[in-house]
Amino acid sequence: MPKLTIEDLKRIREKAKKSTSLREGETTVKITVHMGTCGIAAGAREVMDALLEELAQSDRQDIRVVTAGCMGMCSSEPNVTVELHGRDPVIYQHMDKNKMRQVFRRHVLLNEVQTDFALARIR
């Protein structure tokens, strides 16, 4: 495989700058992957990796992914919190790559909360 260079990144930048949606810059979805020691030991990195892969394949620029620490519910890790603009955040538990993909495609993209994986809805 040819080595990626900084020129490739410059091309991506120019292409991205041309797309109008960038200027809006609005975040409408926030996804938090809880990355305390407990989360990482339970597989949060693999969950994050699947999430980044999904995000890279989507053409959504309004989704923000952040890491956070432990919520104190270590036994339900990996935990992921999905917050759609104007809606209650939903905490998912015991996440893995496949569940993360499903949550991304159904909850994040289609607004269908995946109650089977949910730990709680924060009101």
Partner: protein, 188 residues
Amino acid sequence: MREISLHIMDIAENAVSADASLIEITVVEDAGRNRLEIEIRDNGRGIPSDLLERVLDPFYTSRKTRRVGLGLSLFREAARRCEGDLFIRSEEGKGTQVSSFFRLDHIDRAPLGDMAGALAGLIVGNPRVDFVYTHNVDGRVFRVDTRDLRETLDGVPITHPDVLSYLRDYLREGMAELRTRHDSAHCA
């Protein structure tokens, strides 16, 4: 932890919690000296000297959501299992440096694992923090500085889908490259 990259990720997240704006991660694999060295250095708020001795105690934590703090003690135990050790230096207001070393070919040494995935997660998940990652395998070096990436991107966010694809591939390729030209039996 199944992989050393997970320890690195964990310690780097500590640095984020300490409000670091710059985190420098250095991994050195030296087959000649049979040593794996890992250093995570941040410019966060640092650890007060009276707490410095206690941070390696699994029953000490500064957090309030739970009563144990395992990250650093697990990392130290992993190093000690492999004829290595871990040290912390910290100065309040200046930052913290966590240094560890392992015997590279020790049978109990966990693989470095998916360091590219760990780094991508750290970079994307902490957009306000800059990372400098340096990986040296027997003198060959792969280095990423997110300050350079940001300068090149000129305002385009690192979370833009195309940038994200690039970043993931770039990290994977860069780290794979360190190994492919490397014919040693020490696969990390």
